[in-house]
């Protein structure tokens, strides 16, 4: 993908010239409406994949040879959040080439890493830009950055700064000391809410396939597919399907700490089950003239919600790989068996309708 071509050169508000140095673009700490629009697009779509900043050295305010140096990723939203929080400060920013991915994920992949940092320090000639030897890395970058190697190879001592950029001014005022709170990754309701579009989108991408299968299954007759049957029989299932996406991708993430049990799969199942139970009140028994489709719905949809909820582990700040593996080890066989079972029940239902059995 032509990341280079699409990458933004942050709107320079001037140039900063250090003695004997090539000019450095100066950037504003203010956000324009374009920056805001960009943030919204990143949060709800795959636009994030191409929202990048050119790697290199930038100046905020009027930094001097004594000013702090902050490091960030070249995902433009990461860069924007950092420069916004640096308002009123005079500092340098080094943007690493993380292929447009945020610090946390890029550190896990190693692109926000020791080698990239060392080569960027050398390439930007940081030794001549500042006289001190401190460099401040976002704490969550510590997964990819080995402080000892950076110091050995460049002479710069790595300080792992606060987890959140908004704590930077207080961190600097305290003389590069973090309070215990500044070290902790939080995950409050608002954090979770803004992540839900990224859960709903992929789940809804699979919805048409599910809808097709449900409609065909209900519409199927020995003589062909009956549109009326497909619609009448399939409709409640489509509603159940939407509900499973809603409980798995929205309700469970949002209410995460308030739903009992620690397992995401169990949380998702629970919310799904409650929703199926409530919706069932709306479908009276005579609708299908059989208990079988209802039984299939009770088996399948809470588990669909559970599976979708499990996907949210990818966006949290506290789920461990071993934990998710354990959930999957138990969950995947259950999901597969239950799906097969509900299909079987529906097939028996169809056959009994056709008076085959």
């Amino acid at each position: 993908m032509g990341i280079e071509k699409l990458s933004f050169l942050p709107r320079a508000v001037g140039v900063k010239k250090a003695a004997g140095q090539p000019a450095v673009s100066k950037v504003s700490s203010e956000w324009t409406w374009k920056d805001r629009l960009g943030e919204i697009k990143c949060r709800i779509s795959s636009f994030r994949m191409r929202y990048t900043v050119r790697p290199g050295l930038y100046a905020v305010g009027e930094p001097s040879v004594e000013s702090d140096v902050f490091v960030t990723a070249n995902y433009k939203l990461s860069f924007d959040i950092l420069r916004r929080e640096l308002k009123g400060l005079n500092v340098w920013i080094i943007v690493l080439d993380t292929k447009g991915i945020n610090v946390w994920c890029a550190a896990g992949k190693g692109t926000f890493g020791t080698n990239e940092l060392i080569s960027r320090i050398n390439e930007t000639n940081l030794h001549n830009v500042v006289t001190h030897r401190r460099i401040i890395i976002p704490q969550l970058g510590a997964v990819g950055v080995n402080a000892r190697i950076v110091q050995q190879r460049t002479g710069f001592r790595v300080y792992f700064g606060p987890v959140y950029a908004k704590d930077i001014p207080a961190y600097i005022r305290a003389g590069h000391v973090k309070t215990p709170e500044m070290r902790l990754a939080r995950f409050n309701m608002l954090d979770r809410l803004v992540l839900t579009p990224m859960e709903i989108n992929p789940a809804m991408k699979k919805f048409p396939l599910f809808a097709l299968i449900a409609l065909v299954l209900f519409g199927l007759q020995p003589s062909g597919i009956l549109f009326k049957d497909a619609w009448e029989g399939g409709m409640p299932f489509l509603i159940f399907g939407l509900m499973a996406v809603f409980t798995g991708a929205f309700i469970t993430p949002l209410l995460l700490p308030f739903i009992p049990f620690r397992s995401f799969a169990v949380k998702g199942w629970l919310t799904g089950m409650i929703a199926v139970f409530v919706l069932m009140k709306g479908i009276e028994l005579w609708y299908y003239k059989s208990l079988l489709p209802l039984a299939a719905a009770y088996i399948f949809f809470p588990l669909a919600s559970s599976y979708i909820a499990l996907q949210f582990t990818g966006s949290t700040t506290f789920t461990s790989m071993s934990g998710v593996k354990k959930e999957l080890k138990i969950g995947v066989p259950v999901y597969l068996t239950a799906t097969a079972l509900s299909l079987l029940i529906l097939i028996i239902y169809k056959l009994s309708q056709w008076r085959v059995i």
């Binding site: 499990l310 990818g314 790989m321």
Partner: protein, 98 residues
């Protein structure tokens, strides 16, 4: 918020620890604390296996099998037979420091 109990692979060898405090500086979940000039594991179940501590402990006092705690990534790994790998661009819009 805590995740599952007693699943993480975090191992700590106190005899190697010099009490430098790096692990405390980098851990986003306050798993380590300092006592009598040595680190100790204060809350193991909060560990998310990110690996920041082991990566930055110069004295090899920490071992952890780190990786992404992400269902899609692990399923990917199961299918391809490789390590869990995620397409992070599609994932977490985390607005963490940077």
């Amino acid at each position: 918020m805590k995740y599952l109990v007693d699943v993480v692979t975090l191992e700590f060898f106190q005899e190697k620890c010099t009490g430098c405090g790096r692990c405390i500086e980098v851990c986003p979940h306050g798993v380590f604390l300092l006592r009598d000039k040595k680190a100790f594991v204060a809350d193991r179940d909060r560990c998310m296996e990110c690996g920041a501590c082991a990566n930055n402990c110069e004295f090899g006092a920490i071992k952890v099998n780190s990786g992404v705690g992400c269902a899609a990534a692990i399923i990917n790994g199961m299918i391809t037979g490789g390590p869990p790998s995620c397409d992070c661009g599609e994932q977490s819009g985390s607005d963490c420091c940077g």
